[in-house]
Assembly symmetry: D2
Homo-oligomer: 158 residues x 4
């Protein structure tokens, strides 16, 4: 199932290296890491079944909305990424959660500032429905940061 | 949107009175209530946009799985209500959460024991995909119990 | 820190074997396990820093309340285990969360039914303040069940 | 209890107006509000019992750590605001949660960027233990933002 999750991300224009670069940028000021270490940690996050389930479910909903297979009023809510929807954040936080609460801060920051691939995915709304995708990416990157902080013994809290 | 959420529940065989009866049974030993008071509280829970979004999304996924519109491997996971899936619990807990953490206990209890309409919905799996529905019902009933406990000043913790 | 967490649990009258027995009883109907396998999984749960932090913090609050070192109105809330308090459930759920959302159901069930050591700890309220302790125990046992379900490939959802 | 929660915040150097100003700055680009509307919403957040409980508990722990009344190893963890502790974020998120998941983004952003009074409280570490306080403030402000977004029909998601 990990393979399927990665394939779905790539189909939507996202590589694991994109995510590793974001995780590297966030944690690099605090712990000595490289993009390759970050990539390894993104892989470890994707090994978790709960993470795979969140990715498969979120992207499935995005794609079904895109193909007009979802009934109203949910269809319109998804297509315009209604700011009061909230279910996308819930799914993404279930990813971040797995490495404990220290990931919430990075998740929120990423979801607000939308750096790198998260911003790219967010901007391509219009042609694509990416209501869940951008939050999922923030969740994966935040989880990878938490994992590195836990295993390397320090983190970006100041 | 509340109207749509109620209509979707009814389409899946669930009335608000079914839910009120469960909430009544759970809280009746601790606070002086009636089924009508419980029903009023179920209505208040359904007034919340976050609750409506969770219901619309969860039931939409159940129906799309039923119609074979979801790709593998997610389709099979949903159809057999895989015990390690977990996204159904996450959505349902976002309902319970709204009235604070005291609802977690009732949610878990309802989801394990599956009394009344929750058991009925769970048993009708086979003909219907109700992977999300049974958890959503547990979430709504637990939220209604929390709401009554908060407003009537006591609860079922012993 | 794991050692300190275990010592604190024992000081409050709880052994890891007590917890393993509960986890065994909950998962035994669904997956082939022994009490020793359950004990091993309880140990793995206690290896997690987030779990250690929740245990140290929750029991510290219980003990400080017992020694009358907490100011009012919080002191009375803790001493009577006010059913609307909720912070004890929040701390406990952060333990369960680590192995994903499938643990919520078992947590709620344990917290409501209070079997074995959880009931014992709850009953000894009066002499001891165990406001956080009983929820923490439910959280640890539910986490151990989730861990076994994930590693042995099935769970108690039906 | 609301009065006690406000008094505890003021004792630690935080006024509700400080929090209202932050909420105003975050939501002002998206919805037409004033600082007074934000202040009214901060008050509504503090009306909730779960919020009061989180504030009373978090600040109590900070103060007990300050007075050296907490045992090791937790005492040192709290005094140095260990980045891997995580229980402070958990408590704060229980505040944000009450107005649904749309608040997670603002919570994380505030906790990372630490604007206004949150930064001030964070900087005064050394003389004071504010391990829980800064997260609680981020939680309250994020909740007030969610409340305004829900009641005024739009939010800061872009």
């Amino acid at each position: 199932m990990k393979k399927e999750a990665i394939a779905m991300l790539e189909e939507r224009g996202v590589t694991l290296r994109d995510l590793a670069e974001l995780a590297y940028e966030l944690q690099n000021p605090y712990i000595p890491i490289t993009v390759d270490i970050a990539l390894e940690n993104v892989h470890k996050v994707l090994d978790k079944r709960e993470v795979q389930n969140a990715i498969l479910t979120g992207i499935a909903i995005d794609k079904l909305a895109e193909k007009d297979l979802i009934e109203e009023p949910l269809s319109s809510i998804l297509k315009r990424d209604d700011s009061l929807y909230g279910i996308d954040e819930i799914l993404a936080l279930s990813i971040t959660n797995i490495y404990g609460s220290i990931g919430f801060t990075n998740f929120g920051y990423l979801d607000k500032v939308k750096p790198g691939v998260i911003g790219r995915v967010n901007d391509s709304k219009g042609s694509q429905v990416n209501t869940f995708l951008d939050d999922l990416l923030a969740g994966i990157v935040a989880a990878a940061c938490s994992r590195m902080a836990h295993s390397l013994g320090d983190s970006n809290k100041n």
